[in-house]
């Protein structure tokens, strides 16, 4: 298989396969998790403004009181990499074009020089988080194969995308094919690894917010 054949495969059958596994996987996992249900709380609620599941979905994006100075690397590098990833994925012109060709909707892109900068910052933030996972005793203790694996799965699409745009290391076609392949791997594994927090984070925050809200714990 030469690089053109690889590119054709990842853009055609490969993409279909990956998106198929991703969509079915997400639906299955969501069903598997949330169909477990929960018992109705029979205790009398204490109504208080400012305590609810919906509010908590937003509130938990920010560090809890006093926590930022306890774990600045986790919070700052974590925030940068999540925001960076969102910008690169959704505001890079070629990505928007792809979305338009698939779903027919589009929006304005950011200048590619800016995306380039964001990509570098994102890669650095991810490397910092990797270093922290190795050095920080708690993170190292908690880490399993899955943590290193999912880091790699997330890092590679960003890295190969950046190398492709910059025409570095490998011929453009090869790098682009690798980039798409890496994205496909990410899609395939996302529903079945901790990366699935991208979906469950909303449910989890809603549950804790609803439980706290029932008790009138306003946070």
């Amino acid at each position: 298989m030469n690089e053109m054949q690889l590119l054709t495969w990842v853009r055609g059958p490969g993409l279909n396969l990956a998106v198929g596994i991703f969509v079915l996987g997400v639906l299955w996992r969501l069903f598997e998790i949330y169909s477990l249900g929960r018992k109705k709380d029979l205790s009398a609620p204490r109504a208080l403004p400012g305590a609810s599941g919906w509010r908590t979905i937003f509130r938990r994006t920010l560090p809890a009181e006093g926590m930022l100075k306890k774990a600045p690397v986790t919070y700052i590098a974590g925030a940068i990499f999540h925001i960076g990833l969102a910008i690169v994925v959704f505001l890079f012109a070629p990505h928007i074009k792809l979305i338009q060709s698939l779903f027919g909707i589009s929006w304005p892109a950011l200048p590619s020089q800016f995306i380039d900068l964001v990509t570098i910052v994102t890669l650095v933030a991810m490397l910092v988080l990797l270093a922290d996972r190795i050095m920080n005793p708690v993170k190292r203790f908690l880490s399993t194969f899955e943590d290193w694996f999912t880091w790699t799965l997330t890092f590679l699409p960003v890295l190969t995308g950046w190398l492709a745009v910059r025409h570095l290391l490998l011929p453009y076609t090869t790098m682009l094919a690798l980039h798409i392949l890496c994205v496909e791997l990410l899609l395939v594994f996302l529903p079945f690894t901790k990366l699935f927090h991208a979906f469950t984070v909303f449910g989890s925050r809603w549950f804790i917010g609803a439980i706290n809200g029932h008790k009138g714990v306003a946070v």
């Binding site: 598997e32 018992k39 908690l142 449910g203 989890s204 804790i208 439980i211």
Partner: protein
């Protein structure tokens, strides 16, 4: 698989619900919960990372409730939960967790880790892996009536003392009273001033109240141990007592876990909503204050700080009333760092104070309270939980700090304007 393990696994499978599944799937191993846990911050041992305390339960969840996990289990790729492992985990689930809920408060993905530990304890208890100390307390509550072995005659003796000292009659089994007052053994044995304070306050505000001869003990070691059957028996006594006496409100004493057991778990344990209200004494006093029923005179002049019981503040939503009450009777009230919602636990909640073999760890964890106190250098500490009070006193004594701990209710009662004055 032994019979006890089988029972434990069955119970665990029953308690795993959608929130727990969502929480386990959301954890990204960021380690932030460790930074919120006094057992990690004071020992530096990553073993005490809160989410790690749930590891056997997480594996069981994966093996039983996920397609991939079931597959892994079938081909022998995942380690089954064993008796030995649960035995080892006792220290993680009981000794080094007070259910204080700081981890739940900081988790960025919103995992209610304490909710999970509470449920994990159900499986630990069912499989016979709960610590002897809390088991004993739970059994004494069931057979004798209180975790410290206090029986009705002891309460009656206490009533007589208080009646003599304060000259106020203590009502018992009065039908139709507005409030039914609960006690904790700790208050009956160690802090009798609480009952006197209640009598004084109720007389002052002109409310009817009563004790109940069949339900005076509010603490619920059944909940702490994680045995819902025992917890239900203990709560049912209170429900029956309150319904028999047709009271409007049951007052949970100065005890954090008694409040959680009765206020939030009670109705779920008995399987129906209560026909009466449940309030912590601090909430009741706060209401009296708002209604202008508390007429006080004079102020405490020394430097006071307030230790928030976790179950009252972070897990119970009562944060402001205690501050309003303190400011009503104290001139020099100072807040500790992290006070209120993020206050640090005394280290003995959730039944931990009843675990003898956990004492060394508890005292180690107490360093965080010590440093909070050292920052504001109070003359006295006020709190609203008899268990916090005992644990704080033990910790302060161990670190040779001369710092008296007092209850908020007594302090308020001390400042009430005398009747007819």
């Amino acid at each position: 698989m032994t019979a006890s393990l089988e029972k434990g696994v069955r119970v665990l499978k029953e308690v795993i619900d959608a929130p727990i599944a969502s929480y386990f799937n959301s954890c990204v191993h960021c380690g932030l919960c460790a930074e919120a846990c006094l057992f990690y911050t004071e020992t530096g041992n990553p073993r005490y990372t809160p989410i790690h305390k749930l590891e056997p339960m997480r594996r069981l969840y994966e093996q039983e409730y996920t397609l991939l996990g079931r597959l892994k289990k079938t081909v022998g790729l995942s380690k089954p939960v064993t008796d030995a492992e649960l035995g080892e985990w006792q220290e993680m689930v009981y000794n080094s967790c007070t259910l204080c809920g700081r981890c739940s408060a900081v988790c960025p993905v919103g995992n209610d880790i304490v909710y999970m530990v509470r449920k994990f304890r159900e499986g630990m208890s069912a499989s016979g892996n709960a610590p002897e100390g809390i088991k004993g307390a739970a059994n004494r509550t069931i057979t004798i009536g209180s975790p410290m072995g206090v029986k009705l005659p002891a309460v009656k003796a206490q009533m007589k003392h208080v009646e003599k000292d304060f000259g106020i009659p203590i009502p018992m089994d009065v039908e139709g009273a507005e409030y039914m007052v609960m006690l904790s053994s700790m208050e009956i044995m160690n802090f009798p001033e609480y009952l006197g304070a209640i009598a004084k306050i109720m007389q002052h505000v002109g409310k009817t109240w009563t004790l109940c001869s069949t339900a005076f003990e509010a603490t619920n070691a059944g909940m702490q141990i994680g045995n819902s059957d025992l917890a239900r028996v203990i709560v049912s006594r209170i429900v029956e007592g309150a319904e028999k006496l047709k009271v409007k409100t049951v007052i949970s004493p100065e005890c954090g876990h008694a409040y959680t057991a009765l206020r939030w778990e009670g109705a779920n344990l008995v399987g129906r909503p209560f026909t009466f209200k449940v309030q912590h004494i601090v909430e009741v006093l706060g209401e009296f204050q708002e209604l202008g029923l508390l007429k006080t005179e004079g102020f405490e002049k020394d430097r006071l700080t307030f230790h928030d019981p976790c179950q009252l503040a972070r897990r119970g939503g009562v944060i402001q009333p205690q501050r309003n009450l303190l400011n009503m009777v104290a001139k020099n009230f100072v807040e500790m760092p992290d006070a209120g919602y993020m206050n640090w636990c005394c280290g003995g909640g959730g039944g931990a104070s009843a675990i003898e073999e956990g004492e060394a760890l508890r005292l180690e964890a107490f360093k965080v309270k010590k440093s909070q106190f050292e920052t504001v250098k109070p003359d006295r500490v006020v709190t609203a939980c008899a268990n916090c009070r005992i644990v704080l006193e033990e910790g302060l004594e161990h670190y040779q700090m001369d710092l008296p701990v007092v209850g908020l209710t007594e302090m308020v009662a001390d400042h009430l304007v005398a009747k007819g004055a």
